[in-house]
Symmetry: C2
Subunit: 354 residues, 2 copies
């Protein structure tokens, strides 16, 4: 390969599957990249279906193409090269649409959490999706800030400078204050500690979605065989009142969920991921941030504060990975299979393969 | 792809080209990895040639194979799959041996600084090497801590979560105290400020080797076209005496070289790399460490102290990249073309391609 070559073809045609908060942000970002062009979107919700795509995603201009209700309509009108899926979290919810896109010959980037390492929870479906993608010569990638980057890909990259890795600990402390009722409910924000416990039991409080994926991804990269994953979800109980636009948490009530996962390798707890999510952490002097610590040869510690902002970063990754997905071998792939992500900062796409 | 598959073949046969300090460390590390086997080494220096390889690289056991004087002997006896080149810094010095390895059908990992982005300073030779490597179906990679990781690959990876990048600043403050006379001389350690200036003029003081490579690599990843690179090398003048096993620096004398490179893109200084190298920075309260700052959407800052140790990290990267090089498409590649580095921490090699 002669460095990276300028991709001198037409802009890549990108379509959106889902124009909620994340899909809309991804769509807006696509329109800022000269090497990409936004050609359509699918979203069956009555409040958006049929309306102009530019209007729906919050551009200050119409795009002259409506949001359509189904993938058939999208493919017959917009002919996308790549579909970005931003409509769900699980393989179960994602699979039907993923297969439809693949069968139409489109590459797919999905921000569904489980797609970041689909072999963790849906190995049979992942195998099937991989086979269909290969047969149609297209590539499917799951990505996002977490799972997909902070607590897995970045961890893996740092182990690259290690001669030996004895244990890894990675912590992401973030702020849920910008988020609305749906997210807050899944973290138990505003509940009593008793209601939080009941929510854990009945599955309405879930904590972070993505630990099985992150642990399996790091383990696969390092060649570790994980025997067991222990997950603990504990309420973060407020000592002072914490208030956002969406919720007021009185002292003694739950401000968030401290979710921890530990992966055991060879009888030892080698991989510890910690992700407390709460509203207004600063109200009690808690700094947000990302920290990765590796014990081994050498010992390493890298950290940043505040945390890499989740929504912005997931949006960026979904767009920035498009050239890598276009250049990849066919199949269901992960962030471990592709070159490191890089911001699309120039006017041209660069492609690794000459 | 179905996750990463266990490579169930025989261990990869690795040979060393150069058994100086770095080559020996790489050789020792290879012997700790069950998925790799050290099969031979070339080094024409009379003090090592003909001696048992295990003895030469500092193992506590003989390996039963001697260090040989030339690549012909190596290939006729050891049949390596991969050769790790740790004998030089420039493409000019590396090229002859690289071509010889490639023509014998071996993949190559080189820690020569210029090989980390060979298109920066030797584009014609890089094109030739790429062609020959493709013709022989093998892969050639340059890697190392810097250039190769801290001030380029890690920077690129972090931009992956950015929607927009306005400017990048990355700083690596390290400690030259462990290094011997050869390295200290190239940084001007122990000179008067006047002799330092004369050394810059006559080329005996060089500062860091690798800025053109790091800047070109980051720019290529982001799609930036660099118009100009400004490099400045300034003496770090000691205020107090600094002493190592190899040098004593009196107050007023030079303790190291503060080397900075700035890449201009679109008339703006967008990429600033700073790498002060000195002995005993702690003597004047200077903390070592690595810091990456990105201004854009979002702003990002990630840092770690002390710095990622250079020798340990370059050794690790040279070994950890072997599976990626084995699995790569033929040609001359860079760290931007391959999956993220990962520690070889398990008993098995995992390969990305099914």
């Amino acid at each position: 390969m002669v460095g990276w070559r300028v991709h001198d073809g037409a802009p890549v045609r990108v379509a959106l599957l889902g124009v909620g908060r994340m899909g809309s942000a991804i769509g807006r970002l696509v329109t800022t990249k000269p090497s990409l062009t936004l050609v359509g979107a699918v979203d069956p919700r009555v409040e958006v279906c049929g309306r102009d795509l530019g209007e729906v995603i919050g551009l200050d201009q119409r795009l002259g193409t409506p949001v359509v209700g189904g993938l058939d309509q999208l493919f017959s009108s917009a002919h996308p090269d790549v579909v970005v899926q931003a409509a769900c979290s699980t393989m179960r919810d994602a699979a039907h649409d993923l297969l439809a896109c693949v069968r139409q010959g489109a590459d797919v980037v999905s921000i569904a959490e489980e797609l970041s390492w689909p072999w963790a929870q849906s190995p049979a479906m992942a195998t099937h999706l991989d086979e269909v993608a290969r047969r149609h010569g297209v590539t499917v990638l799951g990505t996002g800030v977490n799972p997909g980057f902070v607590l897995d890909l970045l961890v893996v990259a740092l182990t690259g400078v290690c001669q030996r890795v004895d244990a890894i600990s990675a912590t992401r402390v973030n702020d849920l204050s910008p988020y609305g009722p749906t997210v807050l409910r899944t973290q138990g924000v505003g509940l009593t500690p008793e209601a939080f416990a009941a929510g854990l039991a009945d599955g309405s409080v879930v904590g972070h979605v993505g630990f099985p994926e992150s642990i399996a991804m790091v383990a696969a990269a390092l060649g570790w065989v994980v025997e067991r994953v222990d997950q603990v979800r504990e309420p973060i109980v407020a000592s002072v009142a914490r208030e956002t636009a969406f919720v007021r948490v009185e002292p003694g009530m739950v401000a968030g969920c401290n979710h921890t996962a530990v992966g055991w390798v060879g009888g030892v707890p080698r991989l510890r991921l910690v992700h407390p999510q709460q509203v207004c952490p600063e109200a009690e002097g808690i700094a947000t941030g990302d920290t990765i610590e590796i014990r081994g040869v050498p010992d390493l510690r890298l950290s940043g504060s505040p945390e890499i902002p989740g929504g912005v970063a997931t949006t960026a990754l979904a767009v920035n990975m498009i050239p890598h997905v276009r250049g990849a071998a066919p199949g269901l792939v992960s962030m471990l299979d592709l070159p490191v992500p890089a911001a699309l900062a120039g006017d041209v796409l660069r492609t690794a393969r000459a």
